[in-house]
């Protein structure tokens, strides 16, 4: 079965590559973007804020994964189980309080107490305008 699948899948690719006509034009080579000519680089730079939020999400998301096994076995684990999961969450809450007070969850410049002293935008921010529509 595996071999048959491989033959059908790869065979289609190989045969169409060998037999099919090939006359590329710039339009054909271009990335397909809803029928419109593509604009700018797909890898446009984003604010580092997004990475920070993504990282925080990554951590808290995985921690929540521990809740599901506990919920499934809640009755068997009883009060000690509840105590343990509460402790676990208490520790996470300390981390949460830390990122909240440090301003990770604040968006926009006006909520940043350092804003007035913030470093001038470095090359990473300036380059962002080199591509795309904002010439």
């Amino acid at each position: 079965m595996v071999a048959l699948g491989a033959v059908v899948g790869l065979g289609g690719l190989v045969i169409s590559g060998l037999v099919g006509p090939s006359n590329p034009t710039p339009e054909k080579e271009a990335a397909y973007e809803c029928g419109m000519p593509p604009v700018g680089d797909a890898r446009e730079r984003q604010s580092v804020k997004f990475y920070l939020i993504a990282m925080i999400f990554l951590l808290f998301d995985i921690e929540v994964a521990f809740l599901y096994p506990w919920a499934m076995a809640m009755r068997d684990l009883g009060w000690p189980g509840l105590l343990q999961i509460t402790l676990f969450f208490a520790i996470l809450v300390v981390g949460y309080a830390y990122i909240w007070r440090k301003g990770v969850l604040d968006w926009g410049p006006e909520s940043d107490p350092d804003y007035k002293h913030a470093p001038r935008p470095g090359p990473a921010v300036i380059k962002r305008y080199r591509y795309g529509t904002r010439h």
Binding site: Y51, M55, L58, L59, D61, I62, A65, G122, P123, A124
Partner: protein
């Protein structure tokens, strides 16, 4: 399916990850390679657990995933910090210490 298949797949993945750490030339890809190694190990934990008919293997996998997430967060933070210094993700750009 006999356990050998799972272990072979896990071994291949682990080898791919280990090779990636030394061969790839992009900091993010290096991080991905390490994650592949950890997930290869996860696969063998689950396979061994199933072979023994216990859920221990899957529980261990949970812990490993958590550790991997924490590690990835620190790794990404370091990559961002490095990028701010050199505007590059190529390891060759970082040579202020002898490698």
């Amino acid at each position: 399916m006999p356990i050998g298949y799972y272990l072979a797949l896990s071994g291949v993945l682990f080898a791919i990850g280990a090779a990636g750490v030394f061969l790839r030339r992009n900091l993010i890809t290096l991080l991905l390679s390490v994650e592949i190694m950890l997930n290869a190990v996860n696969l063998s934990f689950v396979a061994f657990g199933r072979q023994q008919g216990s859920v221990d293997g899957q529980i261990i996998t949970f812990f490993v995933m958590t550790v991997a997430a924490a590690e990835a967060a620190v790794g990404l933070a370091l990559v961002i910090a490095l990028f701010r210094h050199r505007e590059s993700l190529n390891p060759e750009a970082f040579t202020s210490l002898k490698w």
